[in-house]
C-alpha cells in the first residue's frame, strides 16, 4: 500500500481537484486498492508525509520532506502532464 499525500495551501481546493485526477490515473493503470490518498494543508505536509511514499503538491516542495515530490500543477494546466504522470507511476512501480 502506497501512501500519497496531496497538499495545497489549505488542503481543500486545488489539492482536491488534483487528487481526483491522480485517482483516475492510478485506477486506469490498475493500481486501484494499492494506494491511499491523504489531503492536507502544505503547512502540515512534513507531518503528513512522515510515513508517505509520495507528496504531490500545488506549491513548491516544502522543507523537511523526505519522500518523493511531484508537482500537481500539470494536472491543473495540462502542461507537462505526461511527465508528471510518469513520475507518479515510477513511484508506484517501486
Amino acid at each position: 500500500m502506497k501512501k500519497i499525500v496531496l497538499a495545497c495551501g489549505s488542503g481543500v481546493a486545488t489539492s482536491n481537484a488534483v487528487a481526483k485526477k491522480v485517482t483516475e490515473l492510478l485506477d486506469a493503470k490498475g493500481y486501484e486498492g494499492q494506494y491511499e490518498i491523504e489531503q492536507c494543508a502544505i503547512a502540515k505536509a512534513a507531518e503528513c508525509c512522515a510515513n508517505a511514499d509520495l507528496l504531490i503538491a500545488t506549491t513548491v516542495a516544502p522543507a523537511g520532506i523526505t519522500c518523493a515530490y511531484v508537482s500537481g500543477v500539470p494536472f491543473l494546466t495540462g502542461m507537462g502532464k505526461v511527465d508528471a504522470e510518469n513520475q507518479i507511476l515510477d513511484v508506484m512501480a517501486q
Binding site: 481543500v12 482536491n16 506549491t59 508537482s71
Partner: protein
C-alpha cells in the same frame, strides 16, 4: 463525477474590462465589489493577499494564462466564483514555482467552502475549459456578464 454547482456563476460576479494596474490594485478593487454584494468579510482582503504571496495561483494553461486566487472559507459569507477579465493582463506568480510571472488574462476568484464537492467539481471543470482552445475562444469573445455566465454554465455544467 459530482455535478458542478453552476449557481456559483452569476452575472453580478462577472467583471469585464476590469481596470487594475497590478495585483494589489486588483485585490483592492475586487474586494470592494465582493463586499458590496455581501460575499466576503472584512478579513478577506488581507487574507487573500497574504495567501497569494505564500501560495501563488498563476496558471499558464494550454489555451490561456489564468490565475485562481482563493483563501480560507472563514473569510467568506457565502460561496461564489467571480470571473474577472482585466483590461490589461495582471501579473501573478506561477503556482508551485513553475514560473516567475504569469500575465493573467482571466482571473477566477474561487470563493469555495471546505470540502464541498460541487465546488471542487467547478474548479475541475474550469481547468478543462482553460485547456481547450475552442472553449477559451468563446470565453474571450463574451462582451457582457450574462453571456459569460451562460458560457461558463454551459461548459462547466455537463
Amino acid at each position: 463525477m459530482t455535478s458542478v454547482d453552476t449557481s456559483l456563476f452569476k452575472p453580478e460576479l462577472v467583471f469585464l474590462d476590469f481596470d487594475a494596474r497590478d495585483r494589489a490594485g486588483f485585490f483592492n478593487k475586487l474586494g470592494v465589489e465582493l463586499k458590496a454584494r455581501g460575499y466576503v468579510k472584512d478579513t478577506w482582503l488581507g487574507a487573500i493577499k497574504a495567501r497569494e504571496e505564500s501560495y501563488p495561483t498563476g496558471l499558464p494553461c494550454q489555451a490561456i494564462n489564468v490565475a485562481i486566487p482563493h483563501t480560507d472559507p472563514e473569510h467568506l459569507n457565502k460561496p461564489y466564483i467571480a470571473i474577472v477579465r482585466p483590461r490589461r493582463p495582471i501579473d501573478f506568480q506561477g503556482m508551485g514555482g513553475m514560473c516567475d510571472r504569469v500575465p493573467a488574462e482571466l482571473i477566477v476568484n474561487l470563493g469555495l467552502l471546505a470540502h464541498a464537492n460541487e465546488q471542487v467539481a467547478a474548479l475541475q471543470a474550469l481547468m478543462q475549459v482553460f485547456m481547450d482552445e475552442e472553449q477559451v475562444a468563446r470565453v474571450r469573445a463574451q462582451t457582457d456578464a450574462e453571456g459569460m455566465v451562460r458560457v461558463m454554465r454551459e461548459y462547466c455544467g455537463a
